[in-house]
Structure formats: structure tokens, C-alpha cells
């Protein structure tokens, strides 16, 4: 089973059956008809939503994280603290490993 990395802002799924589509909508996803893309609108049931997407794609799914400092997207697999993380693979803000260990002062870029 391979790992599929999705960007929570916009991702495309193969044709989704009616039941699964309804389920995804109930779980807090949003569908853009014009572009044919899904995005996550509500994070309350994010774990169930990820499981459903995994079932649809038949592969493990991970979402990209967005770096608070450089605003780039990166996967959780790049992070060495996942064992301590309660929200791993969930698409929230974080700090990428490059910014974390970099010399750039957080004073100027963060907060």
C-alpha cells in the first residue's frame, strides 16, 4: 500500500460513488463543481474523513502541513517529532524542518 499525499486546500479524487460523496460532505469536505476539486472545510471529523478518502483511493492518505514561517507545504514524514504529535498527518499549521533548524530568527517571520 503506497502513501498518497494530498494538499487540503485542493485535491482531486477519482469518481466518487454517491454514498461516499454524501459521507464526505457530511464529514466536512467541500466540493468545487467548476474545478472538480475537494477541499476540507470542517476539521471536526477529520480522522473519519481521512479514513474515507483512504478507502476511496485504496491507499494510505496523508495531508500536507503548511509552514508558519516560510508558508511552504510539507508532509509529516519530514518531521522527526511525529511520535510525540497528537495531530500528525492532519492538515494544520506547523513549522517545516528547514525553518525549525535554520538560522532565520522567528522574531521577524513568526507572530
Amino acid at each position: 500500500m503506497k502513501v498518497i499525499i494530498l494538499n487540503n486546500k485542493e485535491f482531486i479524487l477519482p469518481r466518487v460513488e454517491r454514498e461516499n460523496f454524501i459521507r464526505l460532505m457530511k464529514l466536512g469536505l467541500e466540493y468545487n463543481r467548476d474545478k472538480g476539486t475537494f477541499s476540507i472545510n470542517n476539521f471536526d471529523n477529520i480522522k473519519e474523513a481521512i479514513d474515507t478518502i483512504s478507502d476511496i483511493l485504496n491507499d494510505e492518505v496523508q495531508f500536507l502541513q503548511n509552514c508558519l514561517m516560510c508558508h511552504k507545504d510539507f508532509p509529516c514524514s519530514d518531521c522527526k517529532y511525529t511520535d510525540f504529535c497528537e495531530t500528525k498527518n492532519l492538515p494544520f499549521k506547523c513549522v517545516c524542518p528547514q525553518c525549525l533548524t535554520g538560522k532565520k530568527s522567528p522574531q521577524k517571520t513568526l507572530f
Partner: protein, 409 residues
């Protein structure tokens, strides 16, 4: 200029964007505060300590020009006390609402899960009444919302969940503080503090202040004296952690950090020993140590907690009889004894009903009926299905079938 302020106060977020992590919770609270018609009149922020619940409320009120009326655990929160402060605050709209700068008041009740006992009698009921009648936003915060007493409160509140802060976010915040305090900190030192905090930003900042204040350099060795924090480690992780430990010390530490019920843990631990040790000699040694641990668990009771270390040590020793032989295995959990009781509940209830009928007829206790009479009645029924004893004991056909199929429970 050196100030005596705690760094958690000094660097308390002033704006919502300063609150680190939990963006989802932030968005939900902002939306709730900004909307004029709330589906639910109160909002309950919940999650572990030090993740920014109080900080977010303070920052949001700052940003949206609300004045906070706060009651926390240090106040007496009886029905009378809450009504005295909460009722006037929530029943009248403040005059400054009409000025362009202020938007009115927020009633903030911190640590509502701590409202309990005789000293806070009627507190939750008063809070619910205030929420129902309030004209101003009522925000509450709690660590543990699974308590029975908070159920009615949860029904009238919008629940907003906070999660632990991610380690990279904690490290970045600590770096920011170090820059502001002119401390040159090693990355590894900040990493250690962040990992030790277990996602609790407040404790991470307190730890940084305790070892870094007044210093120019902060090195990894300075963090050696940090106390290890207890994390809510569940049964599964405790079992796995203990069995995979290489030394007795490591194994004991895993148990020490866990929040398991020791009696249930002892049962589960015993269930898993045959899977952990394939060698009969190791298994026998482990069981011997578990029996000693059990003995000390009994001695601990509810008073002699100083003996708990012996319980920990014997179990840790049992988990590390032959550390090198460890191979990952599927843990049995919950305890088999508890599961067996669960599975046989229906059967036991049937048996108890039959015993009740026998005890009534034969003037014996239910226990005597179960141990001394049931085996003979079963034999009699087996020999002759239409035995007169059935009608004399007023047993139903279901009871007869049950007795015929009955094995030892």
C-alpha cells in the same frame, strides 16, 4: 531592566494570531464571538492544560474590544456566588457597548471542571441558568469534559476542542522568547524542553524560564535537571512500553508515567505474559514476580501508597526477565477476566434467577443453592425431564433448558 514577571505572563498573546497552534479552535471561537445569533448561547473550550484556551479568550477579547468578567478555580463558585457575579453581568448590557470602541462584556468561567464538592454546591446548575438567560457571550474552559457532572453543561454549549501544541511550534516559540531575552540557546536544549513538555506550551515556557533566566547561553546539559512530566499513557501503551523495555528502570518509569487502573493493569499484564515469554522458565519467574506485585498491591490498599514502588518494581522486573527475547506481539486487552465476566453476564443472571427460586422454596441462601443444590437438581432433571421437582421449584422451560446446558461458570 530585570522584571519579576513570569515569562508566561510577559509573553502572553495579545492578539489572536499570537496564539500558537489550534487554528481550527481559533477560527471556531472567532466565528462564534462575531456571530450575532448563536445556535448555542455558551461555548466550552476543552483540552489539555497549557494549550492556549485561556490565552485565546484573553487575546480574542483584547482584539474584539470585549471586557472580560472572569471567575476561575481560585474563586468560590457556589450557586450564590456565581449568581452574584454572573447575573448582573449577563442580565444587563453594559453602557460602554454603545460606544464605538467597546463591544461589551464576556463572562469567562475558567476551569469549570473544577466546580465540585460542598464548597461549590449548585455551581453547574447556576452556570447553566446563566447561559440560558445571558445577554452576553459566556465562554468556559475545562480540561476534562468527560465528567458526569458536566453533561448538562455540554448540552447547552458549543464545544470547541483544543489539542496538544506541536513540538516544532513549541520550539519556535521558545526560540522567539530566547531572542527577546538575549539568550543564545542550543537547538537541542530547546528541543529537549519542548519534548519534555508533552505539548504543554505553558510548562515549556516555565521550564525555559527556570533554567534560562539570567543566563547568556543555554546548553543541552542545563536541561538535565528538568523534571519528567506525567503523560496520560493508556493501558495499551503501558503494556507495550513495559514489555519492550530493556532495563527494570525503564520499565518501571513507563508504569510510573501511566494513568492506568493498577488492578486492571495487573490482570492484563498476567494475560499477556504467556505471549511475551515462550521459555517456560522465564514465564515461571515472571509469574512469581507478578504474584509478589499482587501481594504489594493488596498491601497498598487505599492508604499505604509508599508501598506502591515495590508494586512497580516487581512488575517492572517481571516485564524484563529476558529483555533480549522480546519480539513484538499482539497484546491482549482488556483483561480476559473482565471480558469473561462481560460475556457471561447473561448466563450469570439466568443462574441467579434460578438460584433465587430454589432459595425461596428450600429456605437456603442463593449461594448454597448455587453450590450445593444446582448440581443435584441438574442431575435429577437430566435423568427425568418431567421430574416433579421442576414444578415444585416453579422452574420455567427456559430454566430447565438452561440447567441442562449449564457448564461451570
Amino acid at each position: 531592566m530585570k522584571t519579576n514577571l513570569l515569562w508566561v505572563e510577559k509573553y502572553r498573546p495579545k492578539k489572536i494570531s499570537d496564539v500558537v497552534g489550534n487554528e481550527l479552535a481559533k477560527t471556531e471561537l472567532i466565528n462564534w464571538l462575531q456571530s450575532k445569533r448563536h445556535k448555542k448561547k455558551g461555548v466550552l473550550l476543552y483540552g489539555p492544560a497549557g494549550v492556549g484556551k485561556t490565552a485565546l479568550v484573553n487575546a480574542a477579547s483584547n482584539q474584539f474590544n470585549f471586557s472580560i468578567i472572569e471567575m476561575n478555580a481560585s474563586d468560590t463558585r457556589t450557586e450564590k456566588a456565581i449568581n452574584k457575579i454572573g447575573k448582573p453581568a449577563t442580565s444587563f448590557i453594559a453602557l460602554d457597548t454603545f460606544s464605538s470602541e467597546r463591544r461589551g462584556n464576556i463572562l469567562f468561567l475558567d476551569e469549570v471542571d473544577g466546580v465540585f464538592g460542598r464548597q461549590d454546591r449548585g455551581g453547574i446548575k447556576a452556570i447553566i441558568n446563566i447561559i440560558k438567560e445571558s445577554l452576553i457571550p459566556v465562554v468556559m474552559a475545562a480540561n476534562d469534559v468527560d465528567q458526569q457532572k458536566l453533561r448538562p453543561l455540554k448540552k447547552v454549549c458549543q464545544m470547541i476542542r483544543f489539542q496538544q501544541i506541536r513540538i516544532p511550534l513549541i520550539i519556535t516559540t521558545l526560540r522567539k522568547i530566547c531572542v527577546a531575552e538575549n539568550i543564545q540557546a542550543e537547538f537541542e536544549a530547546l528541543e529537549r524542553i519542548a519534548q519534555n513538555s508533552l505539548g504543554d506550551m505553558r510548562s515549556a515556557i516555565n521550564d525555559l524560564q527556570s533554567i534560562g533566566e539570567g543566563k547568556q547561553f543555554l546548553k543541552l546539559q542545563d536541561t538535565a535537571f528538568l523534571t519528567v512530566r506525567n503523560k496520560d499513557v493508556g493501558m495499551y501503551d503501558t503494556l507495550k512500553g513495559m514489555f519492550s523495555s530493556e532495563t527494570i528502570g525503564d520499565s518501571a518509569m513507563v508504569l510510573n508515567r501511566s494513568n492506568v487502573n493498577y488492578d486492571d493493569f495487573l490482570l492484563s499484564f498476567s494475560d499477556n505474559l504467556p505471549l511475551r515469554y515462550r521459555n517456560p522458565t522465564d514465564l515461571a519467574t515472571a509469574y512469581d514476580l507478578v504474584s509478589r506485585a499482587d501481594m504489594f498491591r493488596g498491601r497498598v490498599g487505599t492508604d499505604n501508597w509508599h508501598l506502591l514502588r515495590y508494586f512497580f518494581n516487581f512488575l517492572a522486573e517481571a516485564a524484563t526477565v529476558s529483555p533480549k527475547s522480546y519480539k513484538s506481539f499482539d497484546l491482549i486487552y482488556p483483561p480476559m477476566r473482565i471480558m469473561k465476566l462481560f460475556w457471561t453476564k447473561g448466563k450469570r443472571t439466568n443462574l441467579e434467577n434460578i438460584c433465587a427460586k430454589i432459595s425461596l422454596r428450600c429456605h437456603v441462601s442463593q449461594n448454597t443453592a448455587k453450590t450445593d443444590m444446582i448440581p443435584y437438581i441438574k442431575m435429577m432433571i437430566k435423568k427425568q425431564k418431567s421430574s416433579s421437582i421442576i414444578s415444585w421449584l416453579k422452574l420455567e422451560p427456559n430454566d430447565v433448558d438452561f440447567l441442562l446446558k449449564l457448564n461451570d461458570l
